[in-house]
Subunit: 311 residues, 2 copies
């Protein structure tokens, strides 16, 4: 299957190109009002960490969820670009020697390998900060109340009670702190860890579409359910890929999570159990979108894609 055969893959691809172009523009402009200058090495490290790689699945979710409400595409792209900055910052920091100590990401040297640790820390910090700059711009939405709602939701999805907190729990589960051994998490604990570490940003992606589109509370609830199911499916598929995937396709070393004894649903449920859960989650994602009818077909495809992906 390639982009020509599948409307889903072709739209995923179009959004990825649009996001790359937008990030490229945002990161080659400047200094903006309020900025003094943009040091070249730091911009290069930010560009290296955020351009030319990745399926841009999170921005795709923002754009397509917003499209349910006929939101101008540029608004979805701006919010999606901000979200992608947060996602990329998290990869840069997670890869650091003090964290997961990874040398490869998408088949390329990680940022601290391509540059150095100090630059990688600052590039991550700057991408995170830049996300809020992007969200605060009029180009994201004309109504400041909508923009501030996006800021609040992204901060909570990314921060202590979301992604960063999830990474903390993950490190603790690996027994990384003095006097700790690797923890055996039960199903609920693993679910919470992953709802934070990877789920929160994916949920935000879907909710952001509803915020941009002034969705009703019922519609917001539907998007939240969809986002939550897709988030869980995404993580299980990722864990299965880690066990079964081809390193050349995945673009990083595989089997590493199992070796590190990482807390995964595959570990808790076993491989067949995890695959069954994946099917349930796709069904749940589809069901959540029922109120939107045919308009949501591409998002249903998105949920299936997440469950079936091979890289």
């Amino acid at each position: 299957m390639n982009g020509k055969d599948s409307p889903f893959l072709s739209r995923l691809d179009t959004t990825a190109k649009d996001i790359d172009e937008l990030l490229d523009r945002l990161l080659s402009a400047g200094p903006e009002p309020g900025e003094t200058s943009r040091p070249q090495r730091l911009i290069e490290a930010m560009r290296y960490s955020s351009l030319g790689g990745g399926k841009r699945f999170r921005p795709f979710l923002v754009v397509e969820c917003a499209a349910l409400f006929h939101v101008p595409r540029q608004h979805g792209l701006m919010a999606g670009a901000a979200l992608e900055c947060v996602h990329c910052y998290s990869l840069v920091h997670d890869d650091l020697p003090a964290m997961d100590n990874d040398a490869l990401r998408r088949g390329q040297p990680t940022t601290h390998k391509a540059f150095d640790e100090a630059t990688a820390i600052l590039a991550g910090d700057s991408l995170l900060t830049f996300a809020f700059d992007v969200l605060s711009r009029r180009e994201t939405h004309p109504d400041p109340a909508v923009r501030i709602e996006l800021v609040s939701a992204l901060a909570r999805a990314a921060g202590i009670g979301g992604m960063a907190g999830g990474q903390m729990l993950d490190l603790a589960a690996e027994g990384r702190f003095a006097g700790n051994r690797p923890l055996r998490l039960d199903e609920n604990e693993v679910r919470m860890l992953q709802a934070m570490k990877t789920g929160a940003l994916l949920r935000f992606a879907c909710e952001a579409g509803g915020m941009l589109g002034a969705a009703t509370p019922l519609q917001r609830k539907a998007l939240e359910r969809y986002g939550s199911a897709v988030g869980q499916a995404f993580q299980i598929a990722d864990d299965l890929l880690d066990l079964e995937g081809d390193p050349a396709l995945v673009g990083k070393s595989t089997g590493k999570d199992a070796v590190a004894g990482k807390a995964t649903m595959v570990g808790v449920l076993g491989r067949p159990g995890a695959k069954e859960r994946l099917r349930q989650l796709v069904a749940e994602a589809e069901q959540a979108l029922a109120p939107f009818g045919r308009d949501a077909a591409i998002l249903v495809e998105g949920a299936r894609f997440v469950a079936d992906r091979h890289a």
Copy 2:
């Protein structure tokens, strides 16, 4: 001179207490809507990095600049608390082994020494993210347009074109990257580096007061001039302290910047020249505030305090 003799010191102290209380409350609440849970170790590291230390001079500037426009004190405190989160995150990350590799801060072990590197990276990330959560709350200002203006200005002051960019320039000036030697920066280069690294947040503090208070463009210009002069004075005083200060009072090792060959105005202008510049900057800060008359007396005192401080 102590708090009882000086209205300035007494108000600085009151604001510091209020900010400590507010940060304590914000960081002991939760999970807030949109958060899943707040991992204990991460909250502890964030609290360790942000509570019980520091003069809270940046929040003081926010609160007192806002007071010029009779802004309710709580709004200034909220914006000040957000700014302090950004300041504290920057200290945590700057202290990391890959950056300045400092073991002491305010006489206490730095966050990565008290916890570990991974936790310190995540605590910094989470404090930065939390700042935008705090700014986005209604408690900061009832008008979303004001809140989003604060978000935009803080992102630009803290990010690639501000503080983070300044730290990058500082590392480059020290010759920290492959093939580089320490650079000899001229006066303009040092001024730009410092306008970014420390000046941007101090300028933001003053501008934020104007944003909260719906200041006129002329009043904003005055606050910007004041903030810029105070920012420069702050850095020169810091560099002089590093050369002349008592380590027991300063709470960190002194003489280190000179050893590291850091780019400072003292290095460029010499000690007498730097002291003369300090006097000029205090005069400039005072002059900028002239349009506010007696209402600005406490801010004039603030500029003098910055120039004269011994710790």
